[in-house]
């Protein structure tokens, strides 16, 4: 199971499991290092999904009747809003 296809909840479950294993007495150093690597990768991935998602603010384009203009494929037309940061 690659961590890429995990959902958030699954990722969290996996992280819990890793922590539990890390906490175990009989764990070898090698295993703990490997598990830490995995946990770190998972956390980074989740983090990316959570926060590195593109910050995007769109403003719907309306015609005079107040209806939203749409493209040929029925997607709404929008203008991107500039976020002054």
């Amino acid at each position: 199971m690659t961590s890429k296809k995990l959902s958030f909840e699954q990722a969290f479950q996996r992280l819990e499991a890793i922590l539990e294993r890390l906490n175990a007495q009989d764990i070898t150093l090698e295993e703990s290092l490997r598990l830490f690597e995995e946990a770190n990768a998972l956390i980074v991935l989740c983090h990316q999904q959570l926060h590195d998602a593109e910050k995007r603010i769109e403003i719907l384009t309306k015609n005079r009747e107040g209806e939203i203009e749409q493209t040929a494929s029925k997607a709404p037309k929008t203008t991107l809003m500039d976020i002054g940061e």
């Binding site: 959902s7 997607a75 940061e85």
Partner: protein, 549 residues
């Protein structure tokens, strides 16, 4: 005819009070404000005038303070309150609980009516309200595109979750037609769909779509992966994967900044409420300040006190996930570090034990033994040396004893010894003689002294004897002459002498009793008469008591 009933003033007043007050509770009165008096206590007293009639009214401090527009004389107002009889003055007055200027007042009345109607329709009921979706990927915002509200929301979201997707449906939030626009915006969000043709392999279609859709599609690709797990654990039953459609947003936020009651009036329209109720997308409302409660707030699935609070509410889940991730990382780090430090400790322990077993240790013990041996050896050597030294000194002494100088010295010392002894002896002899001599001298002196003192004593005795002899001779001579005198005297006193002078002594014959009286003899008695030269014996013949002279 019965006499009329006489009431006291208070009886009448309280009778009116009890009759009148219950009749006019919760009444609405329209009139013009006059005689407005603002007391320092904060209470406001005024009259309401209309059609030549007048009604005293009082607005207590707590209500007066919450007025948005201060009252002034001449204002036409609608007041809500109750009629109260004031016995001390025998007057009645309106105690105002709510007051608004006429335009507002009418709106207030309308609003109350609408609230009541919608409540009866069950639009405010809790059971009707939808829960917040999870996860929230795309947020639909119904607000003014130019207001500060949009900025506030963007700021809060950026701070709390970083990445987010916001679709703004720009509307007017106040004035004519605002309500219609808001309602329509809610409908539009519900109508707009995003089509995902092949949610598992989207790449091929990309070329035909315009950029904004591609971006959206990419975004939904991520969301889709999650939906695959969260919403559709199994493929849809009809198997028509290509026809999947999603609402463009997960949640609609209707918001507006603070303003007066008129400013917020669009959010009190039925049309907006209806659109909210119809929406299948959950609605969050954040209109005005916390104290402003609009109908939209009541109808919405979730009411946030302010737009910023709304942003916090919808980002809450992601925020928590972020926190949780952070905690995971911290815990994993901590556990790993503990493990590592344990390993390190174990290693250093091994290193210690290893250093104990190092060959150097063995060499060191040898060195030590060597040192010990050396020390012992030195000690033995020293003892031996000492012994020999003692022996040598003894021998030297003995040899010295036999040396000739020693003999000479010995004889010399003997000589001096003898000399000394002789000298001592001579001295002792002289001393003895001296002692004897002095002894003899002493004895001679003593004897001489004795003799001398004896002679002295004898001389003393001789003198004394001579002096005594002469004194005795004198005394004896004196005594001799005294004796001669006495003896001659005695001679004269001798009875013989008396007899010689002619006196005789008469005694009774054969006795020596001297007859001294005539009475002593009787006639015929024998008598002896003694005279100087002999004795004669006779007998008494007669007696005569005749005195001699």
């Amino acid at each position: 005819m019965s006499s009329p009933i006489v009431l006291t003033v208070s009886e009448l007043t309280f009778a009116i009070k009890s009759q009148l007050e219950p009749l006019f509770r919760q009444i609405w009165v329209r009139g013009e404000v006059s005689n407005l008096k603002q007391q320092s206590s904060g209470h406001v007293y005024f009259s309401l005038k209309e059609g030549g009639c007048q009604l005293s009214a009082v607005l207590f401090r707590s209500q007066a303070r919450s007025l948005t527009h201060p009252l002034k004389d001449g204002d036409t107002v609608v007041a809500q309150g109750e009629i109260n009889i004031y016995p001390p003055r025998g007057s009645y007055q309106l105690i105002v609980r709510e007051i608004s200027h006429v335009g507002l007042g009418e709106a207030l009345l309308k609003l109350q009516a609408l609230k009541k109607k919608l409540e009866q329709l069950g639009w405010f009921k809790k059971e009707r309200k939808k829960a917040l979706p999870s996860p929230i990927q795309c947020i639909g915002l119904v607000t003014s595109p130019t207001g500060a509200v949009l900025h506030d929301i963007v700021n809060v979201l950026s701070r709390r979750i970083g990445g987010f997707h916001l679709i703004v449906n720009p509307v007017r939030v106040q004035g004519e037609g605002a309500a219609q626009e808001i309602a329509r915006a809610v409908e539009q969000f519900n109508e707009l769909k995003t089509q995902v043709t092949h949610y598992s392999s989207l790449g091929g279609e990309r070329g035909e779509q315009d950029t904004s859709v591609v971006t959206k599609a990419r975004f939904f690709n991520l969301a889709e992966e999650q939906r695959e797990v969260d919403y559709f654990p199994q493929p849809p039953p009809n198997g028509n994967r290509a026809q999947l459609e999603f609402k463009i947003v997960d949640i609609i936020v209707i918001c507006r900044g603070g303003g007066s009651a008129e400013d917020l009036s669009a959010f009190n329209e039925e049309i907006v409420a209806a659109a909210c109720v119809k929406s299948s997308i959950p609605i969050v409302s954040a209109v005005g300040h916390e104290t402003d409660l609009t109908i939209t707030d009541l109808v919405a699935d979730l009411r946030a006190p302010t737009p910023s609070a709304a942003a916090e509410l919808i980002s809450h889940e992601k925020f928590q996930q972020r926190e949780r991730l952070f905690l995971f990382l911290e815990n994993a780090k901590r556990l790993l570090f503990t493990r590592l430090s344990n390993c390190k400790e174990g290693l250093s322990l091994f290193a210690k034990r290893l250093s104990h077993a190092h060959p150097k240790r063995k060499v060191e013990t040898f060195f030590q033994q060597l040192d010990d041996i050396e020390t012992n050896f030195r000690a033995a050597l020293y003892r031996l040396f000492h012994l020999r030294k003692n022996l040598l000194s003894q021998v030297t002494k003995r040899v010295q004893q036999f040396a000739p100088t020693a003999k000479l010295a010995k004889q010399g010392s003997q000589l001096t010894f003898y000399e000394k002894a002789l000298r001592e002896r001579g001295l002792r002899l002289v001393q003895q003689r001296c002692t004897a001599l002095s002894y003899h001298k002493e004895r001679l002196d003593e004897r001489l002294l004795t003799r001398f003192s004896l002679c002295k004593q004898r001389m003393k005795e001789k003198n004394w004897r001579e002096r005594t002899h002469t004194r005795v001779c004198t005394i004896v001579g004196k005594l001799k002459s005294q004796m001669e005198a006495i003896s001659s005297h005695l001679k004269t006193l001798h009875p013989q002498r008396t007899l010689e002078r002619g006196y005789a002594i008469v005694c009774r014959e054969n006795s020596h009793d001297v007859v001294r009286s005539i009475e002593n003899v009787e006639s015929g008695d024998s008598i002896q008469i003694r005279v100087a030269d002999g004795t004669m014996h006779g007998t008494i013949n007669t007696k005569n008591t005749e005195k001699l002279l």
